[in-house]
Structures are given as structure tokens and as C-alpha cells.
Symmetry: C2
Subunit: 126 residues, 2 copies
Amino acid sequence: MVDDEMPLGLCRGMVLSLDTVFAALADPTRRAILSMLLEDDMAVTDVAEPFEISLAAISKHLGLLASAGLISQEKRGRVRWCKLEPDALREASVWMQGFGQFEPVNLDAFERFLAAELVAPEAECD
Amino acid sequence: MVDDEMPLGLCRGMVLSLDTVFAALADPTRRAILSMLLEDDMAVTDVAEPFEISLAAISKHLGLLASAGLISQEKRGRVRWCKLEPDALREASVWMQGFGQFEPVNLDAFERFLAAELVAPEAECD
DNA sequence: GGCATATTCAACCAAATGGTTGACGATGAA
DNA sequence: TTCATCGTCAACCATTTGGTTGAATATGCC
């Protein structure tokens, strides 16, 4: 596809961050990691602790999140600290707003959502 | 992974819609299609017209968007009309806005440095 | 130095993804 | 009826993804 022919101003390089951000968010393990980092910064090992997959797999997930800009990582001593970077979501969020006249910026809705989808394993999750 | 041990209430089947919605949004062709449908409903052939990939590939993309709930498809005559369903974005949008809204608790100098350093170069997209 | 801990790397694997082509069913038009 | 159009299906292919394991690298501690 040639840029001139691309619909609605899409052009290569511009969409890369949307690609990577949305792809990063498409995985439930990575979303769970982001939720954990919402509480506090964490070391890689501690991030991995609740999951059953290998540490190497978690390390890959963290690398992907970092390359999408959703987290940052800083090595102090032998521990690599992972920190949420919520700003990276802004571009994607703005993109999504373009499609909706959803009620914008509703933190109540978010908290309800977290309650329902993230922090409530009791819901028939036998 | 056993559900009991899953962090933050993740359990299978529950997060499926976020998975599929974000995965659908992770592809630039599909986002372009959604942008086109923002203007008006379109037939599959017309959706495919600006792209260089095959009609079959576009058909697959549309099927994926439909299964994610982001569009609906209705066959009238021999034409299948595609229609944007922006409501499907609401859940994902709420999820993202929640993260974006959290004022970073511990935004220190290092992170600010990273943010400045890693900001994508302004893509001049006419 | 020697050992344990923290994390990544490299090689591999299975499954999913995004694309192709050609055949096919369904529909509208001549 | 015959033909062109609309769209999907099936089979295939290359690449990416998400996982594994085992080795390697860094760092902290005794």
C-alpha cells in the first residue's frame, strides 16, 4: 500500500506504537502484570511469583511491555524494578475515543470494571 | 495455571472480550477498516478497495472484527454490509482510561528522564 | 574466592496470525 | 438460462507469538 492510497491518514511509523500497545494489551498475562504494577513497582521475580509460567516467559512479557512503553525498567543492584507507565496508554486511549461518544473518563466505571473482571476470582472460576 | 493461583482474578473465559478486542485493534489494517466504517456502512468489496491485499484477506479481517464485536455484518441481496459497533470498545476504553488516569504515585527523575528519552519522534503524517 | 540470587539469553517447539491462490455457492442482471 | 459480481471457504505458506529448558551473566553475601 502506498501512503497516498492509505485511508484516513494512516502512514507507516505512525501506527507502530498503536500496534505495539494494543498487541501488548491483548494478552491477559500482560494485563494482569499491569494491574499488579498499578499497586506498586515490582522486581521481575516478584512479578512472576503469582504466575505458573516460567520466569523467562515473564521476563519476555516484561520486555514486550517495556518496548511498548507501558512499563519502564530500572536495574538497581541485581534487581530490575518494573514500573507502570500509564502515559503510554494515552495515544491508544485517544484513538479509541475517536470511535465513541462513550461517557469519557469515568473512574467509577473503571473501578466497577476492575471489581468485576480483575479482582473477583470468586465469580465461577472453579 | 490453576485459577486459585491466578493473580488479580484472572480466569479463563472472563477476559476473552478484552483479549479479542485488543487483538483486533492491534492490526493497522483492521484499525483502518474501523476508521473507514466510522464514515459510513460499507460493503466488503468497498472496504477492500483501498487496500492492496486480497479480498479474502479483508474478509478474514472483517470476520475477526465481527467476532470481536467491533462491527456487525448484514447480508442484503448479494452484498454484505459492514457496520461499526462502537459499543464494543467501551469496555476496553474504560479499562485503558482507568490506567491512564492514575496519577503516577512515584514519578521520579529517572522515569521522567526515560519518558523524555523514549518519546517517539514526531511522525509528520501530512 | 565461592556460593546463592536475579535475570536474561539461546535454542527450540506448537499454535496462532496474516497473507496467498483457486474453487465454490449465492445472488442479481441480461 | 447464462453470465458477471459478491463474498467465503479450503488449503497452503511464512512469520510471529507464547511457552519451554538449560546455560550464561551480574550482583550481593559470607
